[in-house]
């Protein structure tokens, strides 16, 4: 699948595309990995408040050198800053924002997404692996809209958009929209529905790399 690296959107462009769908005034939680890049691409004129589940609303950029505080981190344990008007709170309040459906949008990574919106992103189910779940199951159960950013296929070329997840689920029927390197795809009642193709990619190319039927835009 080396040619798949040559066409479509790169990681930055996937994040940029996902950022276009975040409305002004939204409270947003970003997962670890490509989703973290979304913060750089929110269009001018929109103000978005970032939530990090370890207890901060109004998360800012990474600190400048000399301004780092090891007690000011995000959910990925990376050093961050606060915006003017930020707020700290404890974990139960933080997850009340999530589980009580106060957070508008969460953008997460994925191992697999099924055409019914099932998401697998926490475990391969390998019995030798140390299981670790973090806040993923709370986010998908409570946040109003769950969007996913992921490469369309795995490193080995297997589709990540499938008829049914083979990995253990994070949540059932939770995903609304998927941004891949090849396309933007909605989880519609009738299945995966194409919203937009990346430049230089056609429908058949995406369909061939998708594990189930793709509905044309």
């Amino acid at each position: 699948m080396s040619d798949a690296d040559q066409i479509g959107w790169n990681r930055e462009q996937m994040a940029e595309r996902a950022a276009q769908d975040i409305p002004n005034g939204a409270y947003v939680n970003l997962g670890i990995g490509i989703p973290e890049k979304v913060v750089r691409y929110v269009p001018d004129g929109r103000e978005v408040i970032y939530h990090t589940e370890n207890g901060l609303l109004g998360m800012g950029d990474a600190p400048e050198e000399g301004q780092e505080d090891p007690e000011l981190i995000n959910a990925g344990k990376k050093l961050v800053t606060t915006i003017q008007g930020a707020a700290y709170f404890h974990h139960a309040d933080s997850f009340s924002m999530i589980r009580g459906s106060h957070i508008d949008i969460c953008v997460l990574g994925a191992m697999q997404v099924a055409e019914n919106g099932d998401l697998a992103n926490w475990s391969t189910g390998n019995p030798d692996a140390i299981p670790a779940v973090g806040g993923a199951m709370d986010l998908v159960a409570g946040v109003k809209t769950i969007n996913v950013i992921t490469q369309h296929c795995t490193n080995k070329g297997y589709p990540k958009l499938v008829s049914e997840c083979t990995f253990p689920l994070t949540g059932a029927g939770v995903v609304s929209r998927i941004y891949t390197d090849l396309a933007v795809i909605d989880v519609a009642p009738e299945g995966f529905k194409l919203v937009e193709l990346a430049p230089g990619v056609d429908f058949d190319y995406v369909q061939e790399r998708t594990g189930c039927n793709l509905i044309a835009a």
Binding site: D69, E71, F95, A172
Partner: protein
């Protein structure tokens, strides 16, 4: 006169017995009460059930408590992090038990435990393997799983400021689990960077009211877990 201040970290942990359940604050190194954890290692209590979001880094703090075979069971949401090797190795050898809990469910179980709520229903984990075998109920058309409140014999937490009544203020995202663990433990032991006069903390700004706190020890210049890990330190 009420004064919850104690004289040393060793005095603070002296009553922790073998087999106790101990909640330890912190999310990664932020909020980790590393001096209290090291005192607990020195104290020697073993067979502990420890509640923390993670399992520590390197060979200091919580990772050292585990490495020194004091922990029989971990209750946590994310036992793997960067530099976390102690727990995975011992877990693979079957030397300690893991109860994996989604992070928000963990927080709510602790909050419920401290609030006298024995159990609650949540949508988190419904439809996943972490709900297997748990009681379910459909409420207003949505499925929920029953989760139980979590209490502890002791909580070890860290804060920025404390007064003699045990009113606490935290530092930034180091607050994380500490306020709810203080509520859920029979005995809450706090290490504070600053010990201030009663009245110095604005009552409007108190985060943890003193009723949830039992013992306070001042550690003015706490060690930083990441610095110890980077230096390759091993405790003890």
């Amino acid at each position: 006169m009420i004064n919850k201040k104690v004289n040393s970290v060793h005095d603070a942990v002296a009553n922790i017995k073998d087999g106790a359940t101990v909640m330890i604050g912190g999310f990664g190194e932020a909020g980790s009460p590393i001096e209290l954890i090291h005192a607990l290692i020195d104290h020697g209590a073993k067979g502990l059930t420890v509640v923390n979001n993670n399992t520590g880094s390197g060979h200091v703090g919580l990772a050292a408590l585990i490495e020194n075979k004091r922990v029989a069971k971990m209750i946590c949401s994310f036992p793997r992090t960067a530099n976390s090797t102690v727990f995975p190795e011992l877990y693979k050898k079957g030397e300690l038990e893991l109860e994996l809990v989604p992070q928000g469910t963990l927080a709510e179980r602790i909050r419920a435990g401290g609030a006298g709520v024995p159990a609650f229903y949540t949508a988190t984990s419904v439809g996943t393997s972490l709900a297997d075998g748990k009681e379910m109920r459909n409420i207003d058309g949505r499925d929920y799983v029953l989760e139980y409140g979590l209490k502890a014999d002791f909580a070890l937490i860290k804060c920025l400021k404390a007064d003699r009544y045990g009113n606490l203020v935290y530092n930034k995202t180091a607050r994380n689990f500490a306020p709810i663990m203080a509520m859920a433990a029979d005995t809450t032991i706090v290490q504070t960077k600053q010990f201030v006069e009663a009245g110095d903390i604005d009552p409007e700004a108190v985060v943890t009211p003193g009723i949830f706190v039992d013992q306070i020890i001042t550690v003015a210049n706490p060690l930083l877990e990441s610095e110890l890990v980077n230096a390759g330190e091993v405790y003890p």
